[in-house]
Symmetry: C2
Subunit: 255 residues, 2 copies
């Protein structure tokens, strides 16, 4: 593919344009996109025009653009995210109906926990995860599960980094984190009180595919005072049911 | 953006590569992609390499590629599809819990009904819709609702086409279809027996945003012998609730 003078490919610049859209910034002008993507204005306008012509961006009457339904369609058709999420959804609904708190499915992606699905409950405690949002591996219950069962190389890399405290209770000591990861591998669960928000406890378990590989983390966010036992039992039951469904459907491993 | 000699932009070629992935074809080699996208092999390999480098495609040990989680993330963050679907999901769950059949949310996209969400029930009758799948406007209950409330220009275009019969009961006569669309606008519902599958009846209602514009269709698929009255009441109630939630959240119109 043609490279620009700065050496990055057109694909890179296109990704940089798409990256300027976030859950909080859904409508932008081409000039704003150029500034945020650090692209020359003429380049940004040309890429935006091409993306509008291809249907990946939609332009409104005020010349602002937003992500198009066509992009959503292309990204979802044939994606592992959709397959895994479809297998998990009925079981997540059961967990959410019984526990009546946020119920979430996350996968490991580029050193973060990426949330594929979140079922909310109107009365549930606050929770900062969003669909297509990310949380740090060491500072969320889902992330801890994904890290515990992730590649050894990833664990060593995270353990050698300076671990950021997201709340006062985030585990930031490498030795303590190493022990916690070993605990998670042994018990197939984590209860992480206040690691993201002081008033909430994250409870997560691994989801395995037919081959036994951990492909996701299933979690609920409980009010701090709630005992996690019932939630753990529901999550473990759901994870087993998802694995059975994936095996029955012949789905390929998620990662 | 740099244009190739054939006059299509790099963005076009990139979209053509992504378009080769479908719900039934999730893993391909670069050579297969080139053939299916009608691109020279060297071009296909270069675009695939760039997409892998950007994380939009993942490559496995056998040099086959599939859509990456990163593409899913970029497409969903800040997308209207996600916002609308999140507003609709709790109400769809209620419909599905009461009717116990497939419950679906579709939007108008490029002259088709594009399905954003589908809740299945293990015992439900068969149904060919899939998430991120499409159905013809004139031959599905969701599509008929979207067409009835769609732009007049779209209706005239569809009415002037040769209407394909998907089943023996698909309405293919332009005058009959015009009357059906007027009925749907008057009654805010459609009951479409066997328009896609002989054994099933599609029942759909419009979903309006805070401004009263129709932004989606909400539908269930009933066994042919089931009376649609309860389903219609549940769908209308859910559509009103979604509209109220969209108004409360200050969401912008879906289209």
């Amino acid at each position: 593919m043609a490279n620009s003078r700065s050496g990055d490919s057109v694909t890179d610049r296109l990704v940089r344009v798409l990256e300027t859209f976030t859950t909080d910034r859904t409508v932008q002008t081409a000039s704003e996109i150029g500034r945020r993507a650090a692209l020359p204005s003429s380049t940004a306008h040309r890429i935006v025009d091409d993306l509008v012509a291809a249907g990946l961006l939609d332009r409104d009457d005020e010349h602002r653009v937003r992500l198009g339904m066509r992009l959503w369609e292309l990204a979802l058709r044939g994606s592992r995210a959709l397959r895994l999420r479809q297998a998990a959804l009925p079981h997540m609904e059961r967990v959410q109906a019984r526990i009546r708190e946020h119920t979430q499915l996350a996968v490991l992606e580029q050193d973060s926990a990426l949330f594929l699905e979140r079922l909310s409950h109107p009365d549930a405690v606050s929770n900062i995860t969003r669909i297509a949002g990310r949380l740090p591996l060491h500072a969320s219950s889902s992330g801890l599960v994904l890290l515990a069962f992730g590649p050894a190389e990833l664990q060593e890399r995270v353990l050698q980094e300076r671990l950021t405290a997201v709340s006062a209770e985030t585990v930031t000591d490498a030795a303590a984190l190493r022990r916690l990861l070993a605990d998670i591998r042994r018990t197939e669960r984590v209860v992480a009180p206040g690691s993201i928000e002081t008033l909430a406890t994250g409870v997560a378990v691994p989801v395995r595919d037919a081959d036994g590989d951990v492909i996701a983390a299933l979690s609920v966010v409980l009010p701090r005072e709630t005992q996690p036992d019932v939630a753990i039992a529901e999550l473990l039951r759901a994870a087993r049911a998802i694995r059975a469904d994936l095996a029955a459907a012949g789905h390929v491993s998620g990662r």
